[in-house]
């Protein structure tokens, strides 16, 4: 298979402007037309293809990323509007050493993914929930309410709900959840 390359057209892009933002702690800049949304910018200008696109009208949640700490639909925000912001994507969820974030580990342990397409958006939504809770406990109904903005067609949501509950309600100091059985 040919290695993936960053999807910049060979011809110059009419009307492109330089757009700079901090992505996963690293300052990134690239040229793009103002009409390029943040999801396409991350994927095709910066080569960060972990952020997925499922509907481009703000319902499916596959493109969810954190901008200045809060979750947004990257398909409903122009890249140019993210100039100067701190963007966090699925690629930035792992630790610097590549170790899985507890949410990633739990999603895997609890089989909260199958095809994996919605997974990055789900994880970024849960990352925001974790930050909001700041250690406070959470109920299953609250987790399901929070995940209502992320469509998954494979799992019936059960594994991802269990994963979230395991991590978010884990006693302090216990990072990895127990498997379901």
């Amino acid at each position: 298979m040919t290695d993936a390359i960053i999807d910049t057209p060979t011809a110059g892009i009419a009307g492109a402007i330089e757009i700079a933002m901090t992505v996963n702690g690293v300052e990134r800049r690239a040229m793009a037309e103002p009409r390029v949304n943040l999801a396409d910018f991350l994927r095709h200008r910066l080569g960060l293809t972990g952020t997925h696109v499922g509907c481009e009208h703000g319902v499916c949640g596959a493109c969810t990323v954190l901008v200045d700490g809060v979750s947004v639909r990257a398909c409903l925000m122009l890249a140019v509007q993210a100039r100067g912001t701190e963007v966090r994507t699925i690629e930035g969820l792992c630790g610097a050493d590549g170790a899985l974030d507890p949410l990633q580990a739990a999603l895997s342990e609890h089989f909260g993914l199958q095809c994996g397409y919605c997974t990055p958006g789900v994880l970024m939504t849960l990352a925001e929930l974790r930050a909001e809770l700041a250690g406070a406990p959470v109920t299953e109904a609250e987790v399901r309410h929070k995940l209502a903005g992320n469509l998954c067609r494979c799992t019936g949501y059960q594994g991802m709900v269990d994963a979230a509950l395991a991590v978010l309600n884990a006693p302090v100091g216990i990072l990895a959840p127990e498997p379901m059985r």
Partner: protein, 788 residues
């Protein structure tokens, strides 16, 4: 080699019943998957399609001048531009079926007549996706509208307009599912009930849309196509045939596929158009379907109209069912008869039905072609049977569990020939299971018999709750075969290649677990290559809940052969009998003297051969084996679902409060992945039952083309699904396994309807149509005089 296994081995594989970590997870939770839109080739062009804005019409003029002149546009292609590359005018996609009366394969791009909104007419290639979309708006298109057919009942009526001018009428196929003496069954039957059902089923709706990246290497004469598909081998065959290429000149790769659920089994015209465009331009071409166009360019499952009668004895025992099924087939025929025929055959379910006759008519309409989505027509058949049983129970004053109990096939009746034939001509025979026990367990686990006190308690709080029950079977593991090969080279790496193809099912883990178990190696050390036509010469792919049955047994048998070869060589080298040896993570040891050992890699090295030296013991070259496993027939999984619902009779809003599944798919290879398949299937079924509804207006214009209008089940409305397994091994394959991929969907509509009717029993509401939206339920309650 080919294995025609009819007898299960006495010792089930050590690979069964273990829930290993899923190997697929690592890259996916890191965002390091490789989906179709993650693949970009240097110099690639971006494609978009101009699509028909009308359901039926004749193209009178296309002017591409302005579009082609737009900066960044490389080409605007029409049918006539692609036709010289093609061996035939139409895309050769249809499945063989004697019942299909007309050639209604689609064209790569519309030639003159457009037959549904969304039919591709022109292909724009540009330097960016944005510019390609800009160009679409510059193409001038004139279409003379023709009268559309949007309702299959009207389409079959005398004097109806024709959905396609190249067909003499709209009855694209007619067939009958029948056995027994149906007239005798109805003559003098103590109870006869008649019902009509209008069943609309939702689509596939993988969260990843379709997509294709194609590259043509002129010098090597090689076409490489990355395709978000469930069936790369079939795509390769269609491409080779349509483009007049040899099999060696086409490679199709399914990368990570973001869900399939049926539609990605169908070869769509865009797959050929993109490949042809790559050959024509000599440049790589990428097309990613967007969600909006997905609603009118990807095949769907839609409407069926049933008119049926059931005859029964005074004791509630079924005597016969007869009726008519009119099926909306859509504008083209990429899948033949499978969908309505599955509905017809699945109606029987786990019940003794002495006589049956269903006349099935498939009507061409000016809507998207209708092909299977998860469940593939079976939920509709199960819905009809289960509704009829509930009606009979009510008429006879029996409980809903009792009427089912009286009709269930007993274990001593298995194997049970239903009297029908499967679509490939085999007898439809249930192979194994215990249907009464399945129902008994479901009733016990769900607290069915304690429901009335719960209902009374809810009433006191003003709540209206109900409980429902449904049984089903599913013919799984469809043939004719699947390929699996296991090889070990001098590196010692175990490599499994297969024609199977995964879209989230966990096929890689399942096959690694089976091969690893046979070869004494942890699953995570086994490399599985699936979904690449270069890796496996033959293959079929993902459909009909088949890959554990077909690919699982193929890999299991191949791995056992490799194991035998290892032990044969090691036996000679270590001077020990094969049964004294054990395989331990790449090393063969003598069990009683573990110092006597040899690495498997050295055996592989020896069998790879050295120039001029003989192979040890005269064995065949290579430490590898390939099996194309042919299941002798479908193996039938079964289950019972019980659901509790709470209905707001005033608003029609339904909450599914509890959902219990008893599931029997034979031996479990990986129990947690089976759970995942069943839960996902149930929720797909719930979504289709309560929310999903592809709507069209009278002109055939689709009305629900966003996820704000077309609703999928979300986490907040999805109940926890409780699963209890039974394991009735099938005698039809060595592992004793049955399919599980679609099973969960099949009873969902039936059980929810049963539960809602039960909740609304004070109003006497009867449910006949799907989906069961809040608006519909409220209207039924109001029509029944309830809830002022």
């Amino acid at each position: 080699m080919t294995a025609h296994a009819k007898v299960r081995s006495d010792a089930p594989s050590a690979g069964l019943g273990r829930s290993e970590a899923r190997l697929e997870h690592g890259p996916l939770v890191r965002g390091k998957g490789r989906f179709i839109d993650d693949i970009s080739l240097p110099g690639q062009l971006h494609a978009t399609f101009l699509r028909s804005p009308v359901a039926h019409g004749r193209i009178t003029r296309i002017d591409i001048t302005a579009a082609a002149a737009l900066e960044g546009v490389r080409a605007v292609l029409l049918y006539d531009d692609l036709r010289p590359l093609l061996t035939a005018p139409r895309v050769p996609v249809s499945m063989p079926s004697g019942a299909i009366r007309f050639d209604v394969d689609p064209f790569v791009l519309s030639r003159d007549e457009v037959c549904h909104v969304g039919e591709p007419i022109a292909l724009v290639l540009a330097d960016s996706r944005h510019v390609a979309e800009d160009a679409l708006g510059l193409i001038e298109l004139d279409i003379d509208p023709l009268p559309p057919v949007v309702d299959p009942r009207a389409g079959l009526a005398e004097g109806a307009p024709r959905a396609r001018l190249d067909c003499p009428d709209n009855l694209v196929a007619r067939t009958t599912a029948a056995y027994g003496d149906i007239d005798a069954a109805f003559a003098g039957a103590p109870v006869v009930l008649a019902e009509e059902f209008h069943l609309s089923k939702g689509g596939g709706h993988s969260i990843e849309t379709r997509g294709v990246v194609a590259a043509w290497d002129e010098a090597a004469r090689r076409l490489t196509v990355w395709d978000s598909t469930q069936m790369p081998h079939r795509a390769k065959r269609v491409l080779a045939r349509a483009l007049d290429l040899g099999e060696h000149e086409v490679r199709v790769i399914a990368p990570d596929v973001g869900g399939g659920f049926g539609p990605k089994f169908v070869f769509h015209p865009e797959e050929l158009a993109i490949a042809a465009a790559a050959m024509l331009t000599g440049l790589p071409v990428k097309w990613i379907e967007d969600r909006f166009e997905n609603f009118f360019s990807t095949v769907q499952e839609r409407d069926q109209f049933w008119t049926v009668e059931v005859a029964a004895g005074a004791d509630g025992r079924l005597r016969g069912i007869r009726g008519v099924l009119i099926h909306d087939h859509g504008a083209y025929s990429p899948y033949g008869m499978a969908l309505p025929y599955n509905s017809a055959t699945n109606l029987i379910g786990p019940y003794v039905l002495p006589a049956y006759r269903l006349d099935i008519s498939l009507c061409l309409t000016n809507l998207m072609p209708s092909t299977p989505t998860r469940g593939a027509g079976r939920p509709q058949g199960t819905f009809v049977m289960e509704r009829l049983l509930d009606r009979l129970a009510e008429r006879l004053g029996l409980t809903r569990d009792e009427i089912r109990q009286r009709n269930l096939i007993r274990p001593d009746q298995l194997p049970y020939p239903t009297g029908l034939f499967t679509r490939d001509g085999g007898e439809m025979t249930y192979d194994s299971g215990n249907y009464p026990e399945s129902q008994r367990r479901a009733l016990a686990e769900s607290g069915w018999h304690d429901f009335e006190p719960r209902r009374a308690a809810a009433r006191r709080e003003g709540g209206l709750i109900g409980i429902g029950l449904a049984n089903y079977v599913e013919g799984s593991g469809r043939g004719p075969f699947e390929s699996g090969a296991v090889s070990i080279g001098p590196s010692g790496q175990i490599v499994v290649t297969t024609g199977a193809c995964a879209q989230g099912q966990g096929t890689v883990t399942m096959l690694a677990q089976l091969a690893g178990a046979a070869l004494g190696t942890p699953a995570e050390k086994v490399r599985v290559i699936a979904g690449d036509t270069a890796a496996s010469p033959l293959g079929l792919g993902a459909f009909a809940s088949r890959q554990a049955v077909t690919a699982g047994n193929a890999v299991h048998l191949a791995a056992e052969q490799v194991r035998a070869k290892i032990l044969r060589v090691a036996s000679a080298w270590l001077n020990a009998a094969p049964d004294e040896l054990e395989l331990d993570d790449g090393v063969v040891r003598v069990a009683s003297d573990r110092e006597r050992s040899c690495p498997v890699s050295r055996i592989a090295e020896a069998l790879a051969g050295s120039p001029g030296f003989s192979l040890p013991l005269g064995v065949e070259p290579g430490l590898s084996a390939a099996v194309d496993f042919q299941p002798p027939g479908l193996t039938y999984c079964n289950g019972t679902h019980v659901a509790e619902v709470e209905v707001d009779a005033e608003t029609g809003v339904v909450r599914v409060a509890r959902y219990v599944v008893v599931h029997d798919c034979g031996r479990l290879i990986h129990p947690r992945m089976v759970d995942g398949q069943v839960i996902g299937g149930v929720v797909h079924g719930l979504s289709s039952t309560l929310y999903e509804w592809m709507r069209y207006d009278d002109e055939g214009q689709p009305l629900t083309c966003t996820y704000a209008d077309y609703l999928l089940s979300t986490a907040d409305v999805t109940p926890r699904i409780e699963i209890h397994h039974m394991e009735s091994p099938t005698p039809l394959n060595p592992l004793g396994v049955k399919g599980a991929g679609e099973s969960g969907t099949i009873a969902a509509s039936a059980v929810i309807a049963s539960a809602i009717e039960d909740a609304l029993s004070p109003f006497g509401v009867k449910l006949r149509d799907l989906p069961l939206t809040a608006a519909r339920l409220s209207a039924l309650v109001r029509a029944a005089g309830g809830a002022a």
